[in-house]
């Protein structure tokens, strides 16, 4: 199978490419940029005139809900949502049922994902058995089974002794841990940022310290043990400053932020709209500004969707009784483009934050389109408007505050190893 992507603007930050170059794909790999290789006869010609051609996005946090929560989503539906969002590689957390703490569950997820074949699914295995924060999981076996990193999701590891041993064990085998810092006690009943809006609405708050306090022990113990950490979905600028300090001391740590934390604040909660019930909570304007400043300074390695599809009933209740999270794979690109429009980052930087940045966090050879690379490609029209609604939303979860909004920036094609896995309706 040979594919010729014609007439697009190729942006590939990993290879410092930004030029009007055609892309030639053969047997799932990039074989040339610009001019066709000798004797290349395309089986498929894709017209990318006026569009951006870039590496498929790498999303560091997307819940697929299978096994265990298939009323919310499954590997099929959410892989399709990923393809529709230009996401060709994603990391799924271990919060499945049963928990992804065994090779069997990891294999199940991988087999289902391969069968569906719409996106690459990299499992994040449970750091502790049952995510209970007590016994170490079989980390090496899980890694050998294909897990890209280990994570205890947002389940507490209450004992610092246990945490120290987890990190020592990780460090022994140079395994990566994904951390979502959240102090158990400071956050256990909370559902909103501990600010003015929570006081007005009478919602139990989650203070900034719930994140920074937990992060502090991770950073200190990583410094002591040499363990590698990736800290995900941060909500406060203070956390990123702590990470920058740790990095300057040589701690091996990277960070990502969910795109909606850069665009929304707790003021959105004013009507008790459960679509804005997120964990970590949307914080104040000052926090959002702080995150954006760190982003501009290059202190954030990746943007992620933190995709969390929910069934209707899970969101249809008084705010604090609803389940947190929003569906986000299809809005990852249009929302990221808002940062470009707001002048926070350049288009090239934005693409880097969705491709090379997260690929480097994981240490995988994705997120780039140099000759010889796997041809995972996203082709999008940055100015094209489209509406996210029940029909266009591919995910099973319709839980997003952007439902029924007009969004700017549309994915028209997604290719996975040279195969078209998504094609927008009017792009036929």
């Amino acid at each position: 199978m040979k594919v010729h992507i014609r007439g697009g603007r190729l942006i590939d930050p990993a290879n410092k490419t930004d030029a009007n170059l055609d892309l030639f794909i053969e047997d799932g790999k990039v074989v040339a940029q610009g001019d066709a290789p000798k004797g290349f006869v395309a089986d498929q010609l894709i017209d990318a005139e006026g569009q951006i051609v870039c590496p498929g996005f790498v999303d560091l946090q997307a819940h697929l809900r299978e096994p265990g929560f298939t009323q919310k989503g499954n590997i099929g539906s959410e892989s399709a949502a990923a393809a529709a969002g230009g996401v060709t590689t994603l990391c799924c957390p271990p919060t499945t049922l049963p928990v992804m703490d065994s090779v069997a569950v990891v294999q199940l997820v991988q087999e289902r994902a391969a069968e569906v074949g719409l996106t690459r699914v990299l499992p994040l295995a449970a750091l502790t058995k049952g995510l209970e924060g007590e016994q170490l999981s079989n980390m090496v076996s899980l890694k050998e089974a294909g897990c890209v990193a280990l994570s205890n999701a947002r389940k507490p590891i209450k004992s610092n002794q246990t945490l120290l041993r987890c990190l020592e064990y990780l460090a022994t085998y140079d395994l990566l841990m994904f951390v979502q810092p959240q102090d158990y006690e400071l956050s256990k009943n909370g559902c909103a940022h501990d600010g003015q809006m929570a006081t007005v609405l009478g919602l139990p708050g989650i203070p900034e310290a719930a994140e920074t306090l937990d992060l502090a022990r991770y950073l200190l113990l990583a410094e002591q043990t040499g363990a590698r950490l990736h800290v995900g979905q941060l909500s406060t600028a203070h956390s990123l400053q702590m990470i920058a300090d740790a990095r300057s001391r040589g701690v091996k740590v990277t960070a990502d932020v969910a795109i909606h934390h850069l665009l929304l604040t707790d003021e959105n909660l004013e009507n008790y709209d459960s679509a804005y019930h997120l964990i970590p909570p949307l914080r104040g304007t000052r926090d959002r500004e702080g995150l954006l400043k760190v982003l501009e300074e290059g202190g954030i390695q990746a943007l992620c969707s933190d995709h969390q599809p929910q069934d209707a009933a899970a969101k249809d209740a008084p705010f604090s009784a609803t389940e947190p999270g929003m569906t986000g794979l299809q809005t990852l690109l249009p929302l990221s483009l808002r940062l470009v429009e707001q002048g926070r980052v350049s288009l090239n930087q934005m693409i880097a934050l969705l491709t090379r940045g997260p690929a480097e966090v994981l240490g995988i050879e994705r997120g780039q389109l140099g000759v010889g690379a796997e041809a995972d490609v996203c082709i999008f029209a940055p100015e094209q408007l489209w509406t996210l609604n029940e029909e266009t939303c591919v995910s099973k979860g319709l839980n997003t505050p952007y439902m029924n909004s007009t969004l700017k920036g549309r994915v028209n094609y997604t290719l996975l190893a040279g195969r078209v896995v998504f094609q927008a309706e009017q792009a036929h």
Partner: protein
């Protein structure tokens, strides 16, 4: 902070009449005054031999209590009966409705009984708001207390108490003392007092019992009781739940009483004609001295009577708002 226009819109008809009563936040001074005027006339009426009026005749009021409160429920029940409504009391344990799915199902079932008004108490902040958003048109929702958010009828009966005993709000300094953090009453009082033009609203308590950013709602924060009571016209004491000690909000009842208990001596620092209020039930010797609770300046028992009048006012106004809306729509 912006006005919460959606919330305000939700509880008013297009003409600005009350159709639900969810919060005192964002309501105009005119509307709050209308509630007080109406409540005032009901309060006078309850002294007469014939206590019933036919304003809600043929209407069904459901007291939907997801949290126990015999006192509040009784006053709502009495208020509805004095308005000639049929009353159904439903106590629903929250364990049966831990999912919103079943809260909505509960609602659908009750609507099938052709109810006209739900009086809702719920442990989750925003629950009456949620119900108002999902209820069929022409059913009025009255918030009888939601989580730590609002308790607007309690706040309005306190406003009525103040007005009947102090008159004009514009000269008044009001202090609210104690567990502000867990108090939905305090939040509703702060909004109502500010809208009605009170000269100053103070909240007094330790940091563990004060919500962050409470000053943004229009209250001045005091940690010291003597300083906070200086020259006030109205002292509102809040009930201290004893479980606050277990969850480490306070060291002991003794230390709380020592620092924030209202004694005759402390009350002497307020204006000589200051009035003392408490939403009840009172803990004698925990937040208030018996001699003060039963003293000449205390209006605690009067508040209970005003509670019925205020609830009658809000219920009749919301029902009439719903009728206007239905006629228009």
């Amino acid at each position: 902070m912006n006005q919460h226009t959606d919330a305000v819109k939700l509880q008013l008809t297009e003409e600005g009449q009350l159709r639900h009563f969810l919060t005192t936040e964002g309501l105009s001074r005119e509307l709050l005054t209308e509630i007080l005027n109406t409540a005032n006339s009901f309060a006078d009426m309850s002294a007469q031999a014939v206590k019933k009026v036919p304003l809600l005749r043929g209407k069904t009021v459901v007291n939907l209590f997801f949290e126990n409160s015999t006192r509040t429920r009784s006053t709502f029940e009495l208020a509805a009966k004095r308005l000639s409504a049929d009353v159904l009391n439903l106590d629903i344990s929250t364990s049966a409705t831990s999912k919103g799915e079943s809260l909505k199902d509960t609602l659908r079932n009750l609507e099938a009984m052709a109810s006209d008004m739900f009086v809702v108490r719920h442990p989750d902040s925003g629950a009456p708001h949620f119900i108002a958003q999902h209820v069929t048109p022409n059913v009025a929702i009255i918030n009888a207390g939601d989580g730590q958010h609002a308790h607007p009828t309690q706040a309005m009966l306190d406003m009525l108490t103040i007005r009947r005993h102090k008159g004009d709000f514009s000269e008044l300094k009001v202090a609210i003392v104690g567990d502000i953090l867990h108090s939905r009453v305090a939040r509703s009082q702060i909004y109502a007092l500010n809208t009605l033009g009170a000269a100053e609203v103070r909240v007094i308590g330790p940091k563990t019992l004060l919500p962050h950013h409470i000053e943004s709602l229009g209250a001045k924060v005091y940690y010291d009781l003597a300083a906070g009571l200086q020259d006030v016209d109205v002292v509102i004491m809040l009930r201290l739940q004893t479980e606050r000690m277990v969850s480490a909000f306070l060291p002991s009842q003794g230390e709380f009483y020592k620092l924030y208990g209202l004694t005759r001596e402390r009350l002497a620092g307020a204006k000589p004609d200051a009035i003392v209020m408490h939403p009840g039930p009172i803990n004698r010797g925990v937040e208030i001295e018996s001699e003060v609770a039963d003293g000449a300046q205390s209006l605690i028992l009067k508040q209970v009577g005003y509670g019925i009048a205020t609830r009658m006012a809000v219920m009749s106004m919301a029902m009439s708002g719903q009728a206007t809306q239905a006629a228009a729509g």
